[in-house]
């Protein structure tokens, strides 16, 4: 595994391998000194073409706890407009002998293009509406922590699925790990086609509510109102918001997830956001462990070559 570009196409085995690895890093993160020397001498660059302080900090913390050096490239739109292409930026980075680049871009597919141009590892930290693989991994990790396994869980992903890279990664991660996914949204906020998606679909949150173990709420953006995708945010909240009343109708063991930042009062009522069953803070904490696992998997060691098979015993004591 050289890059982590997306969840689509990843096998259950490779997802589970990363989650098991994340267990080890959760232990490291619980120590008084949460740091191991595993990636000493490696350099990880974060290349964010779109602001996301939370995600960037999470990746940088993960890299630092593995003893990697970190570089932060904040690409302002101005330097891009000066005629520097994505490829130029990437090659500049590579000239600094970077081992991995963590990229966030507003355009779907940008990490795929970087992976074609670069020799180093590329980690997708979110591309357009397309994928956000570490978010899906940390969500799966959080659910596994809570339920032991995702097998047989019924998960409703609610909200603006059309524009959501989180949904596009989570659908694949959740279903590959054995869960059942139902997308809940008005038709205007669903992708134009769901052909090939391993999901059910509903426009009625109230009908779905009692049947699920997990409600995964997506962030509802104000702009959607101006694009006539929903009449008003108030109407959206009335039909799809997780209100106190709706939260009361959830099954006892059901939990609520949200990729953050939450719009309290829009997709989630403030009181619901503070319930024990709302695992938002667990998600954030697990983000570092999962990103450590990914960095470690991509950067530590020669990957699964034939020589390693033998040397496992040779080096072992």
């Amino acid at each position: 595994m050289k890059h982590l570009l997306g969840i689509a196409g990843m096998s259950r085995e490779s997802l589970e391998e990363l989650l098991v690895l994340a267990d080890s890093f959760a232990e490291v993160n619980a120590r008084p000194i949460p740091k191991v020397p595993a990636l000493r001498g490696k350099t990880v660059a974060t290349l964010f073409f779109e602001d996301s302080t939370r995600t960037r900090l999470s990746f940088e913390t993960a890299a630092k706890r593995l003893s990697a050096d970190t570089l932060s490239f904040s690409v302002s739109s101005s330097s891009v407009k000066k005629g520097e292409t994505l490829r130029d930026t990437a090659l500049t980075l590579e000239a600094m002998r970077i081992d991995a680049v963590v990229v966030r871009h507003a355009s779907s597919g940008a990490p795929w293009q970087l992976a074609r141009w670069l020799d180093c590892s590329v980690l997708n930290a979110g591309d357009g509406w397309h994928e956000h693989p570490t978010q899906a991994l940390l969500d799966a990790f959080t659910l596994r922590q809570r339920f032991g396994s995702l097998d047989g869980l019924r998960i409703a992903i609610v909200g603006d699925i059309k524009h959501s890279r989180v949904a596009r990664s989570n659908v694949w991660a959740f279903t590959a790990l054995g869960a059942e996914v139902v997308l809940v949204a008005p038709r205007t906020l669903l992708p134009p086609s769901l052909e090939g998606w391993p999901v059910q679909m509903s426009e009625d949150l109230d009908a779905v509510l009692g049947t699920v173990d997990v409600v995964y709420l997506l962030r509802m953006q104000l702009e959607r109102q101006n694009e006539a995708l929903v009449p008003t945010l108030r109407e959206y909240t009335a039909r799809y918001g997780l209100t106190v009343d709706r939260a009361d109708r959830l099954a006892e063991r059901a939990v609520v997830l949200h990729p953050g930042p939450m719009n309290r009062g829009v997709e989630i009522a403030p009181e619901v956001a503070d319930l024990e069953r709302c695992l938002v803070l667990d998600q954030v904490a697990n983000g570092v462990s999962v990103r450590m696992a990914v960095l470690f998997k991509l950067l530590a060691g020669a990957d699964g070559s034939a020589a390693d098979e033998g040397s496992e015993r040779v080096g072992h004591e």
Partner: protein
């Protein structure tokens, strides 16, 4: 070594550990993932037969501390589990085979992150030689002279030397499940 030989060696090592430390006060057994873990557990069982109480047992995964990461395919098999702070305790590291010494070096680094032990001792079931670092065991089940190109297979049910089919062709070596019994 047959199963009986392994049991006898562990019994002798248990007695040596108790003797050296004048009992088990402050002693913690830490098995190295993966081969050392069952041995540490077995040592604790044996110790409890003649000491008032079994010592605490932990396990330590050193994957993240190795200096030869780039040479190996490393995936932790189990999460590190250390029983409490190790500061001022006597840690007995337990592993199945002592070879180059690099795992033990990594283990010493890893222990640092869990406190500052009063002393660290090393117990291994088999010392097969070929050290690359100045590391020496305190308790040894058996010294087993080997060639570099041989593998040593270890379990509670015995120890055997496995010769690889063709020297220099590591991919043809016998894959064993040593240490996972």
């Amino acid at each position: 070594m047959e199963a009986g030989d392994v049991a006898r060696a562990l019994r002798r090592m248990a007695h040596e550990i108790a003797e050296r430390n004048h009992g088990l006060d402050g002693v913690v057994l830490v098995g190295l993932v993966t081969g050392g873990v069952p041995l540490a557990e077995q040592l604790a069982v044996v110790l409890s037969e003649f000491e008032p109480a079994a010592p605490p047992v932990g396990r330590l995964d050193v994957s993240f501390y190795r200096d030869d990461l780039s040479l190996r395919r490393v995936l932790p098999h189990a999460v590190t589990d250390i029983p409490g702070d190790l500061t001022d305790r006597v840690v007995v590291l337990v592993d199945d085979v002592l070879f180059t010494g690099r795992t033990v070096r990594a283990a010493l680094d890893a222990l640092n992150d869990h406190g500052r032990p009063r002393a660290v001792q090393l117990a291994v079931l088999v010392d097969r030689g070929h050290r690359e670092l100045p590391i020496r065991p305190d308790f040894v089940g058996k010294n087993l002279p080997t060639r570099r190109d041989e593998d040593v297979k270890v379990g509670l049910d015995g120890v055997e030397i496995v010769r690889r089919f063709a020297t220099g062709d590591t991919s043809a070596s016998v894959r064993t499940e040593a240490g996972e019994s």
